[in-house]
């Protein structure tokens, strides 16, 4: 009984302590209010300039806004942004668009057009066939999507396109399906991707007949059909057409990296360079798709001092500007060349940091200033 009495005596003190804690929380300054300001317009002499932002993992709204302001100020009217399936449909049919809304609305407020990259990062529940053990799914690599779940991915595409109808007009279906890593660490399979593309395309059009569906997004690679890592993008695209995928994309998404070559270097099947895109175009033309545009959704040069495929910083700047000029002059069917990547939320501490235009601390690199000066001439 004494114990109970003692506890009752201290109950009053407990309540006071609780009140004190609550008061401390109440005194805390509110989180900074992020106001996007008046609507902006992108001023540029070169609307082909585009960049791939990485705001998916950027938590703080002011950093999202600051990034998009800098994209606009650089003179890029278009950006590619990633909307991973797992982030927005953590449970079946339960969609959370909060962060996606912020990114899209802030971008539109800056006058920017958003190309949404959908797919990759499969939610754990979708990594096993329906009725499977979700715990087992959580153990699987996060790019693993069993064919029985293709319809669920198509439903995600439908939900995204419907939700952002009128705000996002372009969607990319999956990323680099010709790389094992991006295909659930399984042998890559153009036929399976063609089926996925067909389902996603059909559902996207059901949500918004005007949406532009971009297929492919293939990684440039020379890996042969026997490779465990990837499949040559030219072979993959041919097989994609052979599997009947041509009817299920409005435009091709292409990745065009220059590596150590200048942008004017002629293309060849056994060379990875910026103009490899022309070989993809030739395959499209041969399959009756000459009218379809190609969006270069990843591109650029790297200036890491220690990556063997990198160039010196000066060459990176010169090659990048010349690549834009080349595309403007020779590729009328390419509406955008998007540089990978605008900025990372945190440093990678690897050569990947040397692809960016702006540091995590928002310091503009000289390449950013060079592009900005060029677009504002």
């Amino acid at each position: 009984m004494k114990v109970v009495q003692r506890m009752r005596r201290y109950r009053g003190w407990g309540a006071r302590a609780l009140l004190l804690v609550l008061a401390c929380f109440a005194l805390q300054p509110p989180p900074p209010l992020v106001v996007p300001g008046p609507p902006q317009v992108v001023r540029t002499q070169h609307p082909i300039v585009c960049t791939h932002t990485r705001l998916t993992d950027e938590v703080e709204p002011w950093k999202v806004l600051r990034t998009l302001e800098m994209v606009r100020a650089m003179g890029a009217p278009t950006l590619v942004e990633y909307f991973p399936w797992a982030y927005h449909e953590g449970e079946p049919n339960q969609f959370n668009w909060t962060h996606a809304e912020m990114r899209v609305d802030f971008a539109r407020h800056q006058g920017l057009t958003v190309i949404a990259r959908l797919g990759g990062l499969v939610p754990a529940w979708a990594r096993v066939p329906p009725g499977g053990d979700a715990a087992e799914g959580a153990q699987r690599v996060d790019t693993f999507l069993p064919e029985e779940r293709f319809a669920d991915f198509a439903d995600y595409v439908y939900a995204f396109v419907r939700h952002f109808r009128g705000r996002v007009g372009h969607v990319i279906i999956w990323n680099e399906p010709n790389v094992t890593l991006e295909w659930g660490f399984r042998p890559v399979d153009p036929g399976a991707y063609a089926r996925l593309l067909k389902m996603a395309y059909t559902r996207a059009k059901a949500a918004d007949p005007e949406v532009v569906v971009l297929g492919g997004a293939l990684a440039p690679t020379l890996e042969p059909a026997t490779s465990e890592l990837a499949l040559n993008d030219l072979i993959y695209l041919e097989r994609l057409y052979a599997a009947g995928a041509g009817a299920y994309f409005d435009a091709l998404a292409a990745h065009a990296y220059g590596l150590k070559f200048p942008p004017e270097e002629p293309p060849a099947p056994d060379v990875l360079n910026f103009r490899r895109v022309e070989l993809l175009r030739a395959i499209m033309n041969a399959n009756g798709d000459s009218a379809k545009p190609i969006y270069i959704t990843e591109s650029g040069w790297n200036d890491s001092p220690r990556w063997t495929h990198a160039v010196r910083p000066l060459a990176r700047v010169e090659y990048t500007l010349r690549a834009f000029e080349w595309a403007e002059a020779h590729w009328p069917d390419v509406p955008a060349v998007c540089l990978w990547a605008f900025r990372y939320p945190a440093p990678q501490r690897s050569y990947g940091d040397y692809f960016t235009l702006v540091t995590p601390e928002f310091t503009a690199k000289p390449i950013y200033e060079a592009i900005r000066d060029w677009t504002q001439e």
Partner: protein, 286 residues
């Protein structure tokens, strides 16, 4: 006499919760102290071989000579560690991207490859204390070095000076930032780091902001020039091991400490980078 404490249902729940928490803590402690044996270290001792992953495309740290042999600072460091551990060192020459996966998969025991620690990988990979610090350094005339090298001192020292940089490189980023903050900083951009240093030597600039390794190489033949302080944008290099290799990690840390204490590490740095990597008449450079 038996003591009795009458308890309500909620008190019983509380007691049960405390009990479970205590049990959890106990089991957690047991799990911590009962870590599985460091298989890598056991294998290294049993076979007398340590397998070191390196990306031999980055001289003077790690590279391949005309005969196909590996050479460089990292290779000398690995060899010396092996000698002190009493084991042979086998090198696994991989691409940079493959270094950590090879470690995590258990193919290799350690990575020695001018590798910058990645804190976000600590669950899988541990990094020793840095054995080398690269990054962007400021080079100036020996008699013109700043008295201190905190941010404010750098700015006030740079104000009124012309800074030579490699266009677009890390030094250019720093110099442009200083120029925005200090009105009389002039940035002189050159196509390469060597040309930026040559501009300093020729008197076109009062300082050069370039990568440390290029600076060390250049300073070998320039007695009138010196590092103006520690790197303004430091990039530490460390040895990586799997986070399962607790004993190997401890052994490498201890051996690096010994090499530092007896001057071996310094001697290796001087061999590959010259005296400027360790010289510091003013005591500024650590």
């Amino acid at each position: 006499m038996k003591l009795q404490f009458p308890m309500s249902n909620s008190q019983r729940w509380l007691a049960a919760l405390f009990g479970l928490a205590a049990l959890g803590l106990g089991l957690g402690s047991l799990a911590f102290f009962a870590q599985p044996e460091d298989e890598a270290w056991a294998r290294i001792r049993a076979r007398g071989v340590i397998v070191v992953a390196t990306d031999a495309s980055y001289p003077p740290f790690s590279a391949v000579d005309g005969n196909g042999n590996l050479f460089g600072f990292d290779i000398d460091l690995g060899d010396e560690l092996g000698r002190r551990l009493g084991v042979r060192v086998d090198y696994d020459n991989l691409t940079y991207d493959a270094l950590l996966p090879a470690l995590v998969a258990g193919r290799d025991d350690a990575v020695i490859s001018a590798f910058v620690p990645q804190p976000e990988r600590l669950k899988e990979v541990w990094f020793t204390r840095p054995y080398f610090t690269a990054g962007t350094v400021v080079v100036s005339r020996a008699e013109d070095r700043p008295q201190a090298t905190d941010d404010r001192s750098w700015l006030s020292w740079a104000n009124g000076r012309t800074l030579a940089v490699e266009y677009g490189a890390g030094g250019d980023v720093v110099a442009r930032r200083w120029a925005r903050e200090a009105p009389a900083v002039t940035v002189l951009a050159k196509p390469t780091a060597q040309e930026a240093l040559a501009a300093l030597a020729a008197g076109e600039a009062q300082a050069a902001l370039v990568d440390a390794v290029t600076a060390y190489e250049f300073l070998k033949g320039q007695p009138g020039l010196a590092l103006a302080g520690p790197p303004v944008d430091p990039e530490p290099y460390a040895i990586a091991v799997s986070s399962r290799s607790r004993e190997l990690f401890a052994v490498l840390e201890r051996t690096l400490d010994e090499m530092e204490a007896d001057g071996t590490l310094t001697a290796l740095k001087v061999k590959w980078f010259g005296e400027s990597v360790v010289s510091d008449p003013s005591g500024i450079v650590d």
